[in-house]
């Protein structure tokens, strides 16, 4: 009788372990996801391919950007997050094409595709080893995803096991939201000019 109880217990434990393993098996996308390199706003964050530092972050209800023919106004039901940063390639020339705003609820927002024509946005600039250059990132997020967010920057969204900078952003609140930000084309040294209104 004692032996039967032991066998039954062993089977139940084994089934429990197998169930737990089945439920916790990571997806292929998790296994090959980028390797995070942690950092904070205001510090230099070094990945193996590039270094990045976040200088300033602005929040606004609307963005104005003059295109070739007319001035465009970009409104949102959420908030525009405008991030000014500096990037330096480490070993070889590269472009950065992946920037995501990771909200406190785990929601990810890719950099806005509505403003890709603004100079300095990801993909518009080639970064060179030894030459730090400014990079602009603009996100459109709900108000609830501003405070306690992280910024994720990588060379490409499709680079398995490459390093990705995970930058803890300084505390932001809805009091910091400006009515409007105007962006215009800058020069060679600073590709854009930002004016808060």
């Amino acid at each position: 009788m004692n032996g039967a109880v032991r066998s039954l217990t062993a089977v139940i434990v084994a089934a429990g372990v197998l169930y737990a393993m089945q439920r916790s098996t990571p997806l292929y996308s998790d296994i090959t996801s980028p390797v995070p390199v942690a950092g904070r706003q205001g510090e230099r964050v070094d990945t193996s391919a590039f270094a990045i530092g976040i200088a300033k972050v602005y929040l606004a209800r609307s963005i104005t950007f003059p295109s070739l023919s007319r001035t465009q106004h970009y409104a949102t039901s959420g908030v525009w997050v405008v991030v000014e940063s500096a990037v330096e390639a480490k070993n070889e020339s590269l472009g950065l094409t992946s920037a995501e705003w990771l909200g406190p609820d785990g929601l990810r927002y890719r950099y806005s595709q509505r403003l890709t024509n603004v100079p300095g946005m990801p993909g518009n600039e080639q970064f060179e080893p030894g030459i730090p250059r400014p990079m602009l990132m603009i996100f459109e997020v709900p108000e609830s995803q501003i405070a306690g967010a992280r910024l994720l920057v990588a060379r490409s969204p499709y680079a398995p096991l490459a390093e990705e900078a995970w930058i803890d952003m300084a505390a932001l609140s809805t009091d910091d939201i400006h009515p409007s930000i105007t962006l215009s084309r800058g020069g060679q040294q600073m590709p854009w000019i930002l004016k808060v209104e």
Binding site: N91, E92, S93, Q126, E128, P129, G130, I131, Q188, Q189
Partner: protein, 180 residues
């Protein structure tokens, strides 16, 4: 009594384990159908270094670096490097099939810079003759005996030293040249 029982189970166990260490890598190599060996060969192949002023036959042409000039950069702390090089065509068909090029400027610390997408404005101003030359990617293969003269500009930091031009043609890979 079981006559098939192994009289030396411990010895067989260790022998099997040792055999696994040999058989497993062999199985992987065989299963890759030569691709693994090719990849290892390419990964460990170093580029052919070409001394200053010398030329080297590669992918259907004889390649030579004719100039590596430093010009003032527009950004603080930077220099524009104008690399001029030429290819004397030896095998027209092979060269045509080998394009396009993969070009980079390499320094003594192993840092690699890609060429600028457009010709740098300082090159247009100070070396208009070089600005007219085609890039390696836009050059067209000529007839045997012709020489194609090309130029590329790079933006690098002023402290970069020991510069060399790394040149690879897709048709000539995994071989490549490092022109001093």
């Amino acid at each position: 009594m079981d006559v098939s029982a192994n009289p030396h189970p411990r010895k067989s166990y260790w022998l099997s384990l040792a055999a696994l260490a040999v058989v497993l890598p062999v199985a992987i190599v065989v299963h890759s159908q030569g691709e693994l060996i090719q990849w290892l060969r390419a990964a460990f192949r170093s580029p052919t270094t070409v001394e200053k002023g010398a030329s080297q036959s590669y992918a259907g042409a004889d390649w030579r670096l004719t100039g590596l000039a430093r010009l003032p950069g527009a950004l603080p702390g930077t220099t524009v490097v104008l690399a001029e090089y030429e290819a004397a065509v030896e095998d027209e068909a092979r060269l045509r099939d080998s394009f396009p090029c993969k070009l980079a400027l390499v320094d003594d610390r192993g840092r690699r810079w890609k060429g600028t997408f457009m010709v740098d404005p300082v090159v247009r101003k100070m070396r208009p003759d070089a600005a007219q030359k085609p890039h390696c990617g836009t050059a067209e293969a000529s007839r045997k005996g012709d020489t194609i003269r090309m130029a590329e500009s790079f933006v690098i930091p002023q402290d970069a030293d020991g510069l060399m031009l790394s040149l690879a043609l897709y048709g000539g890979m995994p071989d490549s040249l490092l022109l001093k």
